[in-house]
């Protein structure tokens, strides 16, 4: 039994925390939050690239570090804790994982080394409007290798160099690599719940699109990418959720009301205990997801769904209740609570809402039972 990070992985995680404590303090996050012209923190992005994190799981033959996915989970947890304002998930969990999963040798050789070097920002474009993305009613179309249509919202779409775009071709969904600097791409930055992570509307007007993976298998491929990303995002959510509990605890231990610290009141103690319980349930499910992702187990869809559901629940709960514990202070722009409240919503939605994952989990369990 070894159901924890190894000593080496813990060391990596500690180092990542120290690094982010120094390079990604609240001032850095707020720098992006307060400036509508800035989509992400470029200095932090460059520093993260220098650490090798962008290529952590990219094989050495493509200039990555060739580490396991559990190592990436450890990094993700720390990025989530720091609410890092960089397009890490879009580039690493979506584009790099997608290319490693389904890319041709050529596609890998072209894209992965550039990701590892920090020269290429990626994104995943699936949504076309409010509601759940559906394979059968995609308006974005590819004809003769050219993509036409609108994707909205696309996280990091305003700064990405390359997108994975879900579109239909000959009536079937496919996934396409699209160079966003090409002619025919127009982008519009949009306002979002979490301004530390940018979103855009992307309009494609006959843009060259190169299919990745099998023809007609685009939706399955997106789902496979989502499963992988769900585990990594769960660690970001866990990191954020832990931080919310920590902030609430620290505040409650220093704030006095009716002659004693509010941390001594059972209403507050039980609220913090509830956060702790949800965080531990999320952590345990996330660890199972990390194992399934690392060994590419057949259980991955179930493990990823459980990790995502538990982490979304934990982060939502602790981010809203942390504000409650902070009282009026928690509702101010100056206290960091809202950074986490915003990020909890961003992370819960960016790879599909928990309801969708609950349905995915139950249908997977049904299949498993029928088999």
């Amino acid at each position: 039994m070894d159901f924890d990070f190894s000593d080496d992985q813990k060391f990596l995680k500690d180092e990542a925390r120290k690094f982010l404590d120094g390079r990604c303090g609240p001032a850095v996050v707020r720098g992006v939050l307060d400036d509508p012209a800035r989509s992400f923190d470029k200095d932090l992005w460059a520093a993260v690239a220098e650490q090798g994190w962008l290529g952590a799981c990219i094989p050495e033959e493509f200039n990555g570090l060739g580490l396991g996915r559990v190592e990436l989970c450890a990094i993700a947890e720390e990025l989530g804790r720091a609410v890092a304002p960089i397009p890490f998930a879009s580039t690493v969990y979506f584009l790099a994982e997608g290319v490693m999963l389904a890319g041709s040798q050529d596609q890998k050789a072209t894209i992965l080394p550039r990701i590892a070097a920090g020269e290429l920002i990626g994104c995943l474009a699936t949504s076309e409007g409010p509601g759940v993305v559906n394979a059968s009613n995609l308006a974005c179309r590819v004809e003769g290798g050219k993509l036409t249509g609108v994707k909205i919202p696309v996280t990091d779409g305003d700064v990405a160099d390359m997108a994975l775009v879900l579109a239909s071709e000959a009536g079937k969904a496919g996934l396409y690599l699209v160079d966003l600097t090409a002619k025919g791409v127009s982008r519009e930055t949009l306002k979002s719940l979490d301004p530390t992570r940018s979103v855009a509307k992307l309009t494609f007007d006959g843009v060259a699109a190169e299919r990745i993976g099998e023809a007609g298998a685009g939706f399955d491929l997106v789902q496979a990418i989502m499963d992988r990303a769900a585990v990594l995002l769960a660690f970001e959510q866990l990191g954020g959720s832990d931080k919310c509990l920590e902030m609430a605890k620290d505040y409650a231990l220093g704030r006095y009301a009716f002659g004693r610290v509010i941390a001594g009141y059972q209403a507050i103690k039980h609220k913090l205990a509830d956060m702790y319980v949800k965080n531990e349930v999320a952590r345990s499910n996330a660890y199972y997801g990390a194992w399934a992702l690392n060994v590419d187990a057949p259980e991955l869809p179930i493990a990823a769904s459980a990790a995502r559901i538990a982490a979304s629940d934990a982060f939502w709960f602790s981010s809203k209740e942390s504000i409650q514990v902070h009282g009026g202070m928690g509702f101010t722009w100056d206290v960091d609570c809202h950074l986490y409240y915003r990020r909890s919503r961003q992370l819960s939605l960016v790879a599909g809402a928990p309801r969708v994952w609950k349905e995915r989990l139950v249908s997977q369990l049904e299949q498993k039972n029928a088999a």
């Binding site: 039994m1 070894d2 605890k249 941390a263 059972q266 205990a273 952590r283 459980a306 309801r355 994952w357």
Partner: protein, 407 residues
């Protein structure tokens, strides 16, 4: 990040599995299918415990010299998993071996240990824990059972309540008040007692679930020798804390229908607009239960990892009962509501799953209280895991006799 056994763990598991396969079959051949809460069931349980003790599978972490298995905590967990899979688990010894006997071992002389430990390990004698009282539930130290020194003996009068298994137990550890003139935690003393003494009267409590697992226990001029004292006079709270710390490890998860069973039920039943399994509201709940159950399972794996690395599990394990007890209640209620009018029935011959959901529904309220209420467990997490201040205690410096009392 892996939940496979290490080579040593796998070898131990194989050995345990082989032993269980052979011995469970032999045990079943001898006892067949006996009904719970019958003398035959108790006989079967004692025989199984003796069989395990003979092979070093009872009290695996205790030294072999006192009748244990001389093994590691992780081996104990592995054997427990395999024993459950083999469908053999008797609850009669959990409290004695998990909580009472360790307390006796920690606070008594060699002679007493020699007298009691080995028979308990072999299942020959069963122990109960006599702490709770009508006036002291979560507030254990508010107990009123009096022990008064009389020469070399103590005379005990009072009443305990919620004593699991007192009606079939041979011995018990008893927490008493020996000095009412000091604050409540300071005037307590612990003894071991003979449950068969004529001065001890057990009255089983008829629970809302219909069962009678717990008891009221009355003491009328019960005389115990001073040599039956565990720990110093007035040090009973310290002794009790050792018992209660062990309780956290002994009282774990819950048995009863889980998400798999309710999923099976939902496949069979008709809902308001089609098969119940297709109801979206139900599917969302099912996903939540799955995530909680698995979260709990993997949390236990994390505890096992800590054990296998030589670390001690902390009060973190308090989260188990909070989740399991609440889930049992919610899941059972959903199942019963899913059965619609039929859900009212509790006859095993009529109700789906032999009325297991109805049984769970009526047992869950007790599980949320036994071994620490949800509220106490949350306090434990808040205080011992998160380091928050203890609750305000207005009785801290008040002599017990001057404490305000209600009912």
């Amino acid at each position: 990040m892996d939940f496979n056994d290490s080579p040593e763990e796998a070898a131990y598991r194989d050995k345990a599995r082989a032993w269980l396969a052979e011995n469970a079959a032999a045990h079943r051949a001898q006892f067949g299918d006996v009904k719970a809460n019958t003398p035959e069931h108790m006989a079967a349980a004692k025989a199984w415990q003796a069989r395990k003790a003979g092979a070093g599978y009872a009290c695996i972490t205790w030294p072999a010299a006192i009748g244990g298995g001389g093994g590691t905590p992780i081996q104990s967990v592995i054997f427990g998993q395999e024993e459950t899979k083999a469908g053999l688990s008797y609850g009669y010894f959990t409290i004695g071996l998990g909580m009472c006997v360790p307390t006796v071992m920690a606070f008594s002389n060699t002679e007493t240990k020699q007298r009691f430990v080995s028979p308990a390990v072999k299942g020959e004698e069963i122990w109960c824990q006599l702490f709770s009282e009508p006036a002291g539930g979560s507030d254990v130290a508010a107990l009123r059972t009096r022990a008064i020194k009389d020469g070399d003996e103590w005379v005990i009068n009072g009443q305990k309540v919620w004593t699991t298994g007192a009606h079939y137990c041979d011995f018990g550890i008893l927490l008493t008040r020996t000095d009412p003139d000091v604050p409540k935690h300071k005037g307590l003393t612990m003894f071991w007692i003979d449950m068969r003494d004529a001065a001890v009267e057990c009255r089983p409590i008829h629970q809302m679930s219909g069962g009678r697992e717990f008891n009221e226990v009355y003491f009328t001029d019960l005389r115990v020798k001073d040599s039956q004292r565990l720990g110093e006079v007035g040090d009973g709270w310290k002794v009790a804390l050792v018992t209660l710390m062990n309780e956290r490890l002994a009282v774990g998860g819950s048995s009863g229908p889980n998400y798999r069973e309710i999923m099976g039920l939902a496949r069979e039943l008709t809902g308001a607009t089609g098969p119940a399994i297709k109801d979206n509201a139900f599917r969302e709940k099912l996903a939540d239960w799955y995530v909680q159950s698995e979260g709990l399972k993997f949390t236990r794996f994390r505890t096992m990892t800590a054990l296998s690395r030589g670390q001690t599990p902390g009060p973190e394990s308090s989260i188990g009962k909070i989740i399991a007890a609440n889930q049992m209640q919610e899941l059972a209620n959903t199942a019963v509501e899913m059965e619609d009018q039929y859900g009212i029935l509790v006859d095993p011959a009529q109700a789906p799953a032999e009325a297991a959901f109805q049984q769970s529904l009526m047992w869950a309220p007790g599980l949320r209280i036994a071994g620490g209420t949800d509220e106490i467990l949350k306090n434990i997490i808040a205080e011992r895991v998160l380091g928050l201040p203890g609750d305000v205690r207005v009785d801290k410096d008040v002599a017990f006799k001057d404490m305000p009392t209600g009912r």
